[in-house]
Symmetry: C2
Subunit: 261 residues, 2 copies
């Protein structure tokens, strides 16, 4: 049985303040926890029903607590708790600027919706993008809603938070003048992405859900790209105004990767 | 001031049973309601704060109720209510099979998540797809979560519910043997979408979020397509398992439309 202080401790990790203090985060559900225990993420504790422990092999280094479904419901953030909740250590990673040279990297400016951030991490994983650089105002990676939406991709994609204009200045100094990386920005006034040359490496910048890329970051963009709308095909007369940020990210990543065929 | 019975009536429309009984649905927020009042959707009543009425021109045929913010909070389904709630008539549309002949049409089998359905309707609108055919087990179009996620695209995209195998049989009889429409299905075992010929018309079938396209519908598919994963590029070793259904839909629609350039 869970003690009051255990319940309080787990519940406290729903708040950023306590996640930062303890350097721990929560992941829930059989599929996600199974991905994490076989990844480089260090899982410290597992709270699960007997069903979970019967069907899952767990390293001896992980503290385990067999609990009843009713107890899981008390500590869970989900509307339908699913067998298991894991307490995991927030990994400490150092960004190696050199490692980005030959790669495609996503840059997110102020993506506020946790579901969008989680979905974008899953998209990055699918398209073989290993690193995401986020502005400091982007949703926090270890928010339970982000973690759940990544569906396990959080263990394969590195996410860093930094001041974006400073990052790009630093990056261009690091690359030298000989071989500057291209910085693509998704902008309404950009060129048709389908007909532009797109490089196999560089940065793809996605702006905030309602405001897009800020004035502040705009001077860093070297190539403006746009997903054209086809809604004029519709007989209704009206026009779709925008795409969801995660949807736009997926179309752009798909278009970059398609060029490999 | 709102009467108890008005509040009860509006709240009842959060349930499918009462939406069907009254043939009415709810839409909320300034942007969405503004789109609807200029569309073919018939808005019957508007409940809004004085701010909304001061800034928005409304047809005299619409019943209007000026309410306080606290009253809006009582009737709203949103966590942050935004100036206005509209009660709208569910339109009665009859699908014209002939109208689909030269067009690209989306077909959804058992998309269960209302947010996914709403996002897919918004994607269809962006890519100039006028009609979506849904299986009867797909989330209900007039669920408030679907309506909100469409961001107004619900007024430009026609959504029909029917038995999908029967629909395709009917459709192929209607088209005759001379010019059968292609039926593309998103399947893991499908051919690489980036390198396949794709026609400018036909049907794109998207399966359920976890089960994909059912055994029952599989024989209807004439062309199996797949979005290849690039996650083997990642050094982590693991592999992203799937894309979200709305994300997959957006990549497929983008790829069909790109061929026009």
């Amino acid at each position: 049985m869970l003690s009051k202080s255990q319940i309080q401790f787990i519940k406290s990790l729903k708040l950023k303040k306590f996640r930062e203090e303890h350097q721990l985060f929560i992941a829930e559900g059989k599929k996600l926890v199974n991905e994490l225990i076989t990844s480089t993420i260090k899982v410290r504790q597992i709270y699960a029903t007997s069903d979970f422990f019967r069907t899952t092999k767990i390293d001896a280094s992980i503290e385990r607590f067999e609990i009843k479904e009713s107890e899981l419901e008390r500590i869970s953030s989900l509307t339908s708790p699913n067998e298991v909740l894991a307490v995991c250590e927030i990994p400490t990673c150092q960004l190696n600027m050199d490692s980005l040279k030959d790669k495609l990297t996503l840059v997110l400016e102020d993506i506020k919706d946790p579901g969008n951030l989680g979905t974008i991490i899953r998209i990055a994983d699918w398209f073989g993008i290993e690193t995401i650089i986020c502005s400091e105002q982007t949703a926090e990676l270890y928010n339970p809603k982000v973690i759940q939406a990544t569906m396990g991709s959080v263990s394969r994609v590195q996410v860093y938070y930094m001041d974006l204009p400073a990052f790009f200045n630093n990056q261009s100094e690091n690359a030298g003048n000989d071989n500057p990386q291209k910085i693509y920005g998704a902008l309404l006034e950009g060129d048709n992405i389908y007909t532009q040359p797109l490089s196999a490496n560089g940065f793809i910048v996605i702006g905030n859900e309602s405001k897009g890329i800020s004035e502040n970051l705009l001077p860093c963009i070297t190539h403006k790209i746009n997903i054209p709308s086809f809604s004029h095909f519709n007989s209704s007369g009206g026009e779709a105004e925008s795409l969801n940020a995660a949807v736009a990210t997926s179309i752009i990543c798909s278009e970059f990767r398609r060029r490999k065929f």
